[in-house]
């Protein structure tokens, strides 16, 4: 553990840039979700404002190029794939059935490219809307891939952010999707991963953020969606998840974990109740999750990873840390709905929608 009174900005930034250089073979499981891992690394550098320092102009140009290589079109529409892990050396012979865009990768790729300040002239907007349509299921949920796979609130959130980033909701049947979110609501006040599931921090964030992102429809307005007794129960459950350690747990009676500080804290912020978090103890918990050689772990004494590093910094950026006058904790504001710094969100708003180009 490093000095718990300061945020070890340099250490966290180098932890991320090290991961961008390469990952050991023991990390092979992240290959099918590699863009998401890259997003946590670039996002960390974005929050710490070190991207310009830690990468050269040429690096950033070639990274953009790498991203655009992952944008692929298939009969199901266009989207980003996780990496080239299935791409043959000569680019030939990959059947379109397996070579499709992935919703989580498409969402995180759009944010990565915004962090890299790409002009999005290569973006196939119509194709992406088509992919969303291909991924929506009869029950209103979304699969990550148009060819199947599991469907749950994580993918609903990605479909909603993608629509919001494009400022075009024509790719999804919104009322149907909203009905699915309702079905995931649990008696405890949180949302399960899918209908009938136990209330869980991550998917509660996905539900609350989706409800906050979706525009009004004739049968559902934003104001009524996040109101009343259900909202009060959600707030209660979220607040109850802050444990004695100061960190949040993801479920009732579980131990605190740095990532749930984000999922629960950001959900509260979206509900306009971020003030209810005990920021002082939360910051202390996250400070103790810092690894002595950089990076932030899920709990004190554990190994760090890009996911927990990014999400810890993100919640500190949403809820201004209560750490006296120590300047190291000062971070730029973060948009809790898209999960991007305000500067990056502004870039995305100016360059991603069709009318912007």
């Amino acid at each position: 553990m490093g000095d718990p009174r300061t945020l070890a900005r340099g250490g966290h930034a180098s932890h991320s840039s090290r991961c961008l250089i390469g990952l050991p073979s023991s990390q092979v499981e992240v290959d099918p979700s590699r863009i998401a891992v890259i997003f946590y690394c670039l996002g960390t550098m974005d929050i710490l404002s070190t991207l310009q320092l830690q990468s050269g102009e040429q690096d950033r140009e070639s990274w953009k190029e790498w991203f655009w290589e992952q944008q692929i079109s298939s009969p199901y529409g266009t989207g980003f794939r996780p990496s080239t892990y299935m791409t043959p050396e000569d680019h030939h012979g990959e059947p379109s059935e397996y070579n499709t865009g992935h919703l989580v990768m498409t969402y995180t790729a759009l944010l990565c490219l915004s962090i890299l300040r790409d002009d999005f002239s290569n973006l196939d907007r119509r194709g992406i809307l088509h992919l969303l349509r291909s991924c929506q299921q009869p029950d209103g949920s979304f699969t990550a891939l148009p060819t199947g796979g599991e469907s749950d609130l994580r993918m609903t959130y990605c479909a909603f952010v993608i629509s919001s980033l494009l400022d075009d909701w024509s790719g999804i049947d919104l009322d149907h999707a909203l009905a699915y979110i309702d079905k995931c609501y649990s008696y405890e006040g949180g949302y399960g991963q899918s209908p009938f599931g136990e209330a869980l921090g991550g998917t509660t964030y996905c539900a609350v953020a989706s409800l906050g992102l979706a525009p009004d429809t004739p049968t559902s307005s934003r104001a009524t969606r996040l109101a009343g007794v259900n909202r009060a129960r959600t707030i209660r459950w979220l607040v109850q998840n802050q444990t004695e350690s100061g960190g949040f747990s993801g479920r009732t009676n579980k131990l605190a974990d740095a990532c749930y500080c984000f999922w629960c804290g950001a959900a509260l912020a979206i509900l306009g109740e971020g003030d209810l978090v005990n920021e002082r103890t939360l910051t202390e918990f996250l400070a103790n999750c810092q690894f002595k050689f950089g990076g932030i772990a899920k709990a004190p004494g554990e190994r760090p990873d890009p996911y927990h590093t990014y999400l810890s910094l993100a919640i500190l950026a949403i809820l201004p840390a209560d750490h006296g006058n120590d300047e190291t904790w000062k971070l730029p504001r973060l948009n809790p709905l898209w999960n991007a710094t305000e500067d990056t969100a502004q870039w995305a708003r100016a360059h991603i929608p069709a009318k912007a180009s």
Binding site: L23, E29, W63, E65, F196, G197, E198, Q240, N253
Partner: protein, 329 residues
Amino acid sequence: MSDLLADDSEWADVVPIRQYENVNPIAPIFYSEEYKDATDYFRGVVKTGEMSPRVLKLTERVIRMNPAHYTAWQHRYKTVMALQVSLEDELELMDEIATMFLKTYQVWHHRRLILTALNSVDAAARELVFLKTVLENDSKNYHTWSYRQWILVHFNDEERLWAGERPYVEELLEEDVRNNSAWHHRFFVVFSSGVRAGDEDREQTLRRELSFAKEKIALAPNNLSAWNYLRGALEHTHTPFTTVTAFVEPYTASEPPATDVVDLDNPLPSAGAQLPCVAALEFLADIYEEEGGEKTAKAVEIWKLLANEKDTMRKKYWEHRIRDALQKA
């Protein structure tokens, strides 16, 4: 002494295909030789569209090295269906892989697909037994519980699958009364999934559930899972919180009451219980708020006690409750 497919005559007729990599990739993974070898051959068979027994071996090999490799899973499923291999055998083979990679989504999704294709109640019953053994080692594993709930809903009308669920939950709560996944599962079985056989009399069912929750609270008063269950059961059935005031009050006192009278409807906190119990104080304040009028002041008093003394971690939340109630009043 190599274990590579490149040295295996069985694979001599397949042209391995190396992975494309950009000259300056981001976060590249430094693959092991075995992984590169297996995935080179996997790309080879995907290109030719081969679906054969050796492709089943190959996809298993890839999956064991990388259980998140969703393309290997997709191609495996397609091959299993095309070859019409025994789906029961496929599930059994997957038992070990599921146990090894409990936290990988793809592992559980594959089981769903196979069980859906099998469409057999016997197979579903076998799955429920298998899941019990998994939960023995990790009683709160989210994927395992999701899959269990999915099976039950998928075979919604098969009462023989559902019949053992409530007793199973009781077993788990005997072991760990704070296991929220077990509490949640009970709520799912009794309330949110519909009306199960034997539970048609809803009033009696509610009485049974309230007694169950109260009994568990008496055993361990500071257990939020049980209090949330009690709240959930009342709210789901639109039963006012005031109906349990007599039960809640003794838990808000500083000491257990000195009485020998046993009221089965309202079990008292056990002798060594830590009182007052924060969850009970919260509950009593909610009762007062529900009653409204003059009672609101009593609710505010409790919230102040929570904010300043009993649950200072959530001070701002209790103050928010006070503001909210006074605004409504």
